[in-house]
Amino acid sequence: MMNGIKVTIPGDQIGVEEEFMPGSGVYIENGKIYSSKLGLLVIDNKNKKINVEEKTRLAIPEVGDLIEGIVIGPMREDSTVVEIIKILNKKDLRGKFTGILHISQISRGRLSTILSAVSLGDWILAKVITSWPPYQLSTLENDLGIIYSTCPKCGKELILKKERLYCDKDKIFIRKKVSSKYLIKED
């Protein structure tokens, strides 16, 4: 006990099933509730819920998590592979996870090919929609999509201009599924 808070370690019995609803960081065995993690015991008396609040959240993608990734290809007609490099609001990844972006999950409009929405090397912000690797990703929402990209002609950074990607040097617009959180915006 420290300042009235209790530290639990895996295997500690923290209650019985009749008392509380199991929350996160706990498990039930033979009607008893045990802690499964090193953390603080948090009892929500209003909702009768028992949780073990962890030190850090596991750096593993879960359904609904937002991730940042790089399109690493191969660019198939209907899907491509994305390397997940960061999970938002979770601790930094020690390794990399693989994601798959399917053409039906890229944008609400019709795409004839995946290349009209993303290309190799693009940085994307996407949502995880399945719970194990390779994770299926989705960029259907407006704030999801490409957050950094380069010009296919000259390699220069593209900027967001009138909600489309624009290359300063070649003076061309490039059609892509761009996120409203694109990193370089026209001033």
């Binding site: 530290v7 962890e54 959240r57």
Partner: protein, 244 residues
């Protein structure tokens, strides 16, 4: 048997311990920055460093199992960990211990929560003085808890041996080499489940029963140490956070 007696007439062992006394054990958690979880243990003169990575994607990918995560363990002795230089290549013994350690820890982990991933445990023995597998298992369970991997229970482990017809707790290198039997066991203390039991040599039924009870008592002592370490570590980081 050596020239020196392993147990003196007044019932003390070569390092001055009583028959049912364990060596001083000191755990330290969170020693490796790059690992998801880590632990270091000094168990008498045995010193081991354990790093845990994961759950992460399994490579090569054919290793991944669709309904659970796999646990991979690597036990390795540093070339300088023993008196004579040990070849750094994995020996037959190290491969066996890696398997044994993996199987002792796997029942404690909720593997079904992370399909198609892997949890990797790396143990490096820096200095070996007996009971390295027990020290590794005990330290690895702390490293797993540090990594935030959901577990049923901690795993505590200790070895017992028969030395000069007496049952002794927490086997030292010399006792292991010159004793007539030794038996490492690992248990999940609050679940009362055995996850590892091995035996070298011969024990009678009575001796086995006595050794087993002694080992259980030893495991509880190790568990107490593990508990204290985890609690003080958690308080340390919590207090650290409040100050920021």
């Amino acid at each position: 048997m050596g020239i020196r007696k392993l147990i003196s007439e007044d019932g003390l062992r070569i390092d001055g311990r009583r028959l049912d006394e364990i060596r001083p054990i000191r755990f330290k958690i969170g020693v490796l920055k790059n690992a998801d979880g880590s632990a270091y243990v000094e168990w008498g003169k045995t010193k081991i460093l354990v790093g845990v990575y994961g759950p992460r994607e399994a490579h090569p990918k054919h290793l991944a199992v669709p309904d659970r995560c796999i646990v991979q363990a690597r036990y390795h002795m540093a070339p300088f960990s023993v008196e004579e230089r040990k070849s750094p290549a994995p020996s037959r013994r190290e491969i066996e211990l890696s398997k044994v350690i993996r199987e002792a820890l796997e029942p404690a982990i909720f593997v079904e929560m992370f399909p198609r991933t892997t949890i990797d445990i790396f143990a490096e023995v820096l200095q070996a003085d007996g009971s390295t597998r027990c020290a590794t298992i005990s330290a690895a369970s702390l490293a797993l808890a540090d990594a935030g991997i959901p577990m049923r229970d901690l795993v505590s482990s200790i070895a017992v041996a028969k030395v000069e017809d007496q049952i002794v707790l927490d086997v030292k290198d010399e006792e292991d080499k010159h004793g007539s039997a030794d038996m490492p066991i690992a248990i999940m203390p609050s679940k009362n489940v055995i996850t590892l039991i091995q035996m070298d040599g011969m024990l009678t039924y009575e001796e086995f029963k006595k050794a087993f009870e002694l080992a259980k008592k030893g495991c509880m002592e190790v568990y107490k140490k593990q508990r204290e370490t985890l609690e003080s570590y958690f308080k340390e980081i919590k207090v650290g956070l409040e100050n920021v």
